[in-house]
Amino acid sequence: MNNDPSADGRLARELRQLLVAIEATGRALLPASNLELLQTVVDAAARIFGAAAASICLVDEADQVLEFKVAYGAGKDEILGMRIPIDRGIAGYVANTGQPIAISNVQQDPRFNQEFAKSTGYVPRSILATPLIIGDRVIGVMEVLDKISAPSFGMQDMELLGVFAQQAAIAIDQSQQMDELGRAVLHGIDQLLENNGSDRPTRIRSEVEAGTEEERARRRDMLELAGLFFEISQTGEAEKQACLRILTAFREYLRSRPSFSSNE
């Protein structure tokens, strides 16, 4: 094995560039944080169903809780970040069974949807809850509350909410995969070097993670660019193509200038 420190430095630099590229790709394809996309899904669902409130909570298997990540409408501010035991409430039932349920007109039960009632004083009259599923795993629950035009949610609503839940689950899955890709690269290099008996893996990892101030600045710029590209592409295919054309034209212009170089 090569123990040359300068070679390790080069390796660390290449890894760092690779990780930034992975992160920027993720940023260009997905929102800055997948919460933004989940919020869009929840807002759209609430409007389409004519619901007073809506939310998505995700399963934390280690702590056996559901954590509310995004919400819309009544009780929104109170419920965000709230963690409820997975063996309680309608959301708990859905997380446990992977089955959607529509329920309304519950009386005399203080535990009914306690997650809302406890902190907001808002007790919904009707709930439609459906699981977010990746493969055969329930990763969260999406709920819409209080259909404004009807006393309860019907089976058509249940089917339709399933479509929204599918989109939300795909968004979460993609975002998690992108996060894991970066971790996998670092883990992979650790594995490759682990039998070396030296501190090389640790050293390389810390070099990868540190970087110079200039590199950190470049990383920020790159992520901002990727985020801008995502935002523009969200407005439509034509806008995305226009953005690509403008950037390509700018690159061609720079290339045509004699002074163009990658260090500028």
Binding site: Q64, S104, M155, E159
Partner: protein, 295 residues
């Protein structure tokens, strides 16, 4: 998704489409099967002497909707330290953690008031072992010689296909009739897809004894499951929708049939259900005959 898809595909859930007024098919029986009537099948029966297991979230034993019909039960927990990875705790005065099991038990009790109910709680805090808990609960019901088992839950995990199939066969050969709600989302789930099981989806009606047979399985029966008034936690009631609430209607009717005809085997009971379905009518006596009892 393409914008050109017909909107009614979205508006009509896959799992209940075969029981809508537009698509419901009439079915015909021939010979002695055509002569089976509801009066013969369960007239005068109360479900007396029949043991019904409800594999679910527990049953609130003192809820008025179950009217003191609870005879016992078990809580199945996931436990990595044991060889089977399961622990069974006897549960003589069961409680319910979600309300769902009480809802199912209440429906069964309303149809078969003298049937004995057993709570088999298989869901709780730990999501990791839930399919194993479910399988453990089903095994408990078979070993404790339940006559009917209501499963308003299922698993979509492929690796459990074989285990649940084995259990469904074992139940069938031992005369334990399994009634299973079909998945509410359009994906396969077990054990509802097996032929030895009575699989049930929801139809829009509210009469508890109106049920349909679907000649194009795997979903074989349709029963009320939409906006059903059910028991819920803390002696309360709610209005609920899902295939979960269709299955216990059929479970209740099966309890009535088994009580009146204890010698019938699971496949004979399925035949009786077929013959008594609301959309069944006798076959024409000769080809071209309009039938002796057109619907």
């Amino acid at each position: 998704m393409s914008g050109s898809e017909p909107s009614d595909e979205i508006l009509r859930p896959a799992w209940s489409s075969q029981f809508s007024a537009e698509t419901l098919q009439q079915i015909s029986s021939a010979g002695p099967i055509a002569e089976i009537t509801r009066e013969w099948a369960w007239g005068g029966s109360t479900g007396k002497g029949i043991r019904v297991a409800v594999i679910d979230s527990g049953i609130e034993h003192d809820h008025p909707a179950v009217g003191g019909s609870i005879r016992g039960g078990t809580i199945v927990e996931f436990d990595r330290r044991t060889k089977s990875q399961l622990r069974f705790n006897q549960d003589d005065r069961p409680a319910d953690i979600f309300g769902h099991g009480t809802a199912c038990a209440g429906i069964i009790h309303s149809i078969a008031p003298e049937a004995e109910l057993y709570s088999v709680r298989v869901i709780g805090r730990d999501l990791t072992g839930k399919a194993m808990q479910f399988a453990g609960g089903l095994r408990w019901a078979i070993e404790h010689e339940m006559n009917v088992v209501n499963m308003s839950l299922s698993t979509s995990r492929e690796e459990f296909y074989g285990l649940f199939h084995e259990l469904a066969d074992e139940a069938y050969f031992k005369g334990v009739l399994l009634v299973s709600a079909v998945n509410n989302i359009p994906a396969p789930s077990y054990p509802s897809l097996y032929s030895s099981v009575v699989s049930v989806a929801a139809h829009e009606g509210h009469d508890p004894f109106t049920f349909f047979y679907n000649p194009t399985p795997p979903v074989e029966f349709g029963a009320p499951g939409i906006d059903v008034n059910v028991a819920w936690l803390n002696k309360s009631y709610s209005t609920s929708t899902g295939n979960s609430f269709a299955a216990p209607h059929i479970t209740g009717i099966v309890a009535l049939i088994r009580s009146k005809h204890p010698d019938l085997t699971p496949f004979q009971i399925k035949t009786v259900l077929f013959a008594c379905a609301t959309n069944a009518r006798p076959a024409p006596a000769v080809p071209g005959d309009a039938g002796k009892n057109p619907a």
